[in-house]
Symmetry: D2
Subunit: 284 residues, 4 copies
C-alpha cells in the first residue's frame, strides 16, 4: 500500500512542523496520524512522527528523500522515512520459559505483530519443536561461562546472516556481553520480571515476596550495558497479597510479562518508540 | 503569559496542518503541544488542537484572528483562538452528597483546576457553610415538581448574571429540563454513578449489587436531552466482590466518581475535549 | 497427595464452624485454607469452603463422608467433599477465534489450570490441527438453524461419553438451547466480550464504539437460559480512546477476554465459585 | 452494639479453629466474618480474625476474656478481644501538603473512617485553620535540626496526654528518631510517595522522572527504624508517560497517595492488618 512514516528529531525551534507538513503537502501526501513532543520548546529537542499516505510511495521513496534532504539539513534533523510495507526482521531469544514466546507467536499469527520472525535462538533445546512447528528456524546455542564469547559470536553471525533488525529477549536467561550489545544499539528489547527500578537483577519475585509488596510488575526496556538500567518502554503491575508465595508471584507475573513485552514490541515495530538519553518517548 | 490554543475542526483534506503551522510560524508563534485526529483521512472530519507561545498574544489576539480568517474560510473551519489566561467561569450544582464538590474545591485551591468558580447552586441548604467558607457564593434554590420550571428560570438568570461558561453537575440529583439543556449546549458536565451504558438511570449501585457485577464504575459525560446518553468524556472502575452491599458500593464508588469528574472537568477546562456527534475526542 | 476440600452451604445459625472444624480435627485433618460468607448472619445463607490435609484421604473418603452426614443433616447442609486429585473433566467449545482456546491450552500445559481437557468441540474445522497437535480429540460438529437440535444431541452424547463435568465456551459463537443448558446446570462457563450488563447480545465491540465508551471489558459467567444474564464470575476492563475503531477494540479486547476466562475457569476448577441465586460467591 | 473482634496469632497446629469457634458458640456468639492465614500448616504461624455478634458484649467482655484464657494458653496464643465500639484514637502529623489530611478528614466526616481524631500535629502553621474549623485541636511544633529532640518530646507528651493509639504521617516531612518510633511500635503509619522499594528516600517523583518509569505509585507502610523499609500495608500506581514533568507526577501522585493512605488506615482501624516479621497480613 501507500503508507509511510517520517521520523524526525532535531533541536526545537519555530517552523519545523510548518516546513515538514508543507513539504509533505507538496509531495501529494495525506497525513493520517501525527505525534510530536518537545523536551523544551526553548532550546530542547523536538520529536516528530508523521504517518501519511502517498500514491506510489515505494517507487518514489528515493526521490522524496532527496527532496527532503535540504529541509532536514537546515533544521539539523536526524530523520528516517520508512515504508509501512518495509516490515522489520526480528530474532527472538528464549531459554526455557515459553510464555513470552508463545504470546509473541500467537500475536504474530493473528496479525497483531507485524514483523518477520527470522529465527529463534535458545540456550536450550526445549522449545525447538514448538518453534519449528510454525515454520521458524530454531538455533540451539548452548552457553556456559567458558563458551559464552564463542556462543555470542555464533549468535551475531546468525543475526547478520538473517539480516535481523531487532532482537527480542523473551525471558532469555543469559546476560549479553557489552560487545554483543554494542553491535545492536537500541535494537535489543528485554522483558524484566519486576517493576523497575525495584528488584534490579536476579530473583525479583523472591525478593518481592521477601519485601512484602502488594503489587508485582514487569518492565520492557531496551538493553544497554547496565543491567536492567536501559530505557523503559512499558510497565504494568498486578495485585498480590500475603497469601502468595514466590511460585504464585511467578505464575501471576507471567501474564504481565507477556502482555507488557508484546505491547512494547508492537510499538517498537511501528516506530512509535524513540530513545532519548536514557528514556523513551512513546507515541502510542 | 503568552500562551494560547487554537482549536479547529473541518473537513479533512491534504494541506491543513501545513497551512495552519505555516501561519503560526509567520506570526512568530512557537508550538508547544499539538494534537490532531481525523475520523477518516478520506472525506472525514479533521480535528486539531495546537498550544503555542506567542509574544504579546493578549494585545495581538484580534489582529491574529483577522489574519487567520481567510485560511479558516478556505478550509471551511470551525475554529476558536483561546488565551491561556482567559479562564473559564463555572457553576457547580450539588444536592446533599459532598464528595465531588469537595474534590473540585480542593483541586481548585491546589491550583490543579484552572477555573473561576463563580457560584454553587443547590436544591438543599446543606453545603452552604462549606462553600461560603472558601468565599464562593451559594444559592439555595429548592426544586419540587411544581416549582421546577420556575427554579430553572432562577438558575438560568443566575448563570447569565454570573457569566458562567460551564456547568458541573457534581451529584446534582435533579433532571434538567430540555429547555435548560438547550441554553447550554455542550456546556453541562455530569457525573453518573455507573459504568455507562450499564445502569442508566436511577439507583445504579443497587442494580449493580443485584446483578452481581465484579467491577463498579463512574462516567462523566456531557448532558443532552437523553438521560445518561450524552457524549462520554471519561470513565473508570474499581473492583468489588460478593461481600459488598449497596452501601459499600456507594462508599467505594465515591472515590471513583470524584476522581473521574475532576479529570473530565480538567480536560474540558483546558479545551482538550471536542464533541463530535455523540462521542468525544479527548486530546490528553 | 492428602489434600481435600469441603464445600458447604446451609441456613446461617451459630455453631456451624465450630461443628465442622471440630469434626475435621477429630478426623486428624489440618486446615490449610478456610473461607466463609454469610448473606446475613440473622437468617441468611452461610457458605463455607475448607481446604485441609488429611493422611490417607483417598482411602478414607467414604468413611469420613459417613461420619459427617449426621452433622450435615442437623444443619440442613448442602455439601460436597472433593479430593484435590479428583481433577475435573472439561470440554472446550470454540468457533474460529482461537485466542481463548490457546490461552487455556497454554495454562493447562504450564500446570496452571488443573483439569483434564477431555475434548474440544467446534462448529468449524479451523482449529482441528492446533488441538490435535497437543493430543486432545477435536470434534467438528457443524451447526445450522436446521441442524441445531441434532447437533446439540451429538454434543450431549459426546459430553456424556467423555464424562465431562464442565463446559467452557471459549468464544463459541452459537447460542445453546434451553434444553442443552438444562442438562448442565451451573456447569457451563461463557466469556462474553463486553462489560456486562453493558452490551448484552451481539456485536458488543461495535456498540461500544458507537457509544464512545472509554473502557471496554469482558465478562465470564455461568450460562443460563437468559442470554448473557447468568451469574457473573469475573470481569475486567482496559482503557480505549477516540482513535480506536471496532477492529482495534476487538484486538485489545482479546487480551482481556482470554485473561478473564482463564481466571474464572481456574476458580471454578478449584471449587472456589459458589452460585447463589443469580450471583456468585468467589473465594479467591 | 454487640459486635466484637477476636484477633489471634499462634503456632499453627490442628484444632485451633475448632477450639476457638466452639468457645464462641458456647458464649452465644454469632460469627459474622472470619479470616485466617497460616504461613505454613506444618510448623508455621497461624493468624485468625473473627468478627462476631454477642448479646451484651460490653458488659461481658472481662468474663469472656477470663473464660478464653485457658484456651489461649494451651495454644500459646497472642490474642486480643476488641469491641467494635471501642474506637481507636489517632493523631495526624502533617507538614504543608494538605491532600492526605483533607482526604482523611473528609472520609472521617463521611463516616468511612471510624476513629477519634484526637489531634493534628504539624511543623508548620499552614493548616491550622483548616483543622480547627472541624473542631480538632492543632499543635504547631516547629522542628529544626537543633530542636528536633525537644520537639519530639513535646509530641510524645501530647500523644500520651491525648491517649493516642495510632499516628498517621500524612505527608509529614520529618524523619522520626528511633527513640520516637520505639515508643509506638506498629502504631505509626506513613505514606511514601513512591512504589516501594523503588525510590526509597527523598525526591521520589524527581527520580521517577529521571528513570523514565511508565507508572508511578504510592506506598503506605508501618514506620520502623529503617527509612521506608517497614511492613507495607497497601500500594497503588497510576500510568504516566514521557510528557509528564516532575510537577505533573507530583500532581497525579497526590490522588494515589491520599487514596492509598486512607485505605491502609481504614484496614488498620478495623484491626485487619497484622504485622508479621517485616510484612503484613491484611484481611480485607
Amino acid at each position: 500500500e501507500n503508507r509511510a512514516r517520517l521520523l524526525i528529531s532535531c533541536p526545537d525551534k519555530p517552523g519545523i512542523v510548518a516546513a515538514v507538513t508543507s513539504f509533505l503537502y507538496e509531495q501529494g501526501a495525506n497525513i493520517v496520524e501525527s505525534n510530536q513532543y518537545s523536551t523544551d520548546p526553548e532550546g530542547g529537542t523536538f520529536f516528530l512522527r508523521i504517518e501519511f499516505d502517498c500514491p506510489n510511495i515505494a517507487a518514489r521513496q528515493q526521490e522524496i528523500e532527496s527532496a527532503f534532504r535540504p529541509i532536514a539539513e537546515s533544521f539539523h534533523m536526524d530523520w528516517r522515512l520508512r515504508l509501512h510495507n518495509d516490515v522489520k526482521r526480528i530474532a527472538i531469544f528464549v531459554s526455557k520459559a515459553e510464555h513470552c514466546l508463545l504470546e509473541l507467536l500467537w500475536q504474530w499469527q493473528a496479525g497483531e505483530l507485524i514483523a518477520d520472525i527470522a529465527l529463534v535462538v535458545s540456550n536450550h533445546e526445549y522449545l525447538k519443536s514448538t518453534v519449528e512447528s510454525v515454520g521458524i528456524p530454531y538455533f540451539y546455542i548452548p552457553v556456559t561461562k567458558e563458551t559464552k564469547a564463542e556462543a555470542e559470536q555464533k549468535q551475531i553471525q546468525l543475526l547478520k546472516k538473517y539480516d535481523v533488525d531487532t532482537i527480542v529477549l523473551a525471558r532469555y536467561m543469559q546476560i549479553l556481553s557489552p560487545s554483543f550489545v554494542a553491535e545492536f544499539p537500541g535494537k535489543i528489547i528485554n522483558i524484566h520480571h519486576s517493576f523497575l527500578p525495584a528488584f534490579v537483577g536476579a530473583r525479583p519475585y523472591e525478593r518481592a515476596y521477601e519485601r512484602g509488596v502488594k503489587l508485582i510488575g514487569a518492565t520492557s526496556h531496551y538493553v544497554t550495558d547496565d543491567l536492567d538500567e536501559g530505557p523503559i518502554i512499558e510497565q504494568d503491575v498486578t495485585r498480590v497479597d500475603h497469601r502468595h508465595h514466590p511460585d504464585d508471584l511467578k505464575r501471576m507475573g507471567r501474564i504481565i510479562e507477556k502482555t507488557v513485552l508484546a505491547r512494547a514490541l508492537k510499538w517498537h515495530l511501528e516506530d512509535r518508540v524513540i530513545i532519548h538519553k536514557n528514556k523513551t518517548i512513546v507515541f502510542y
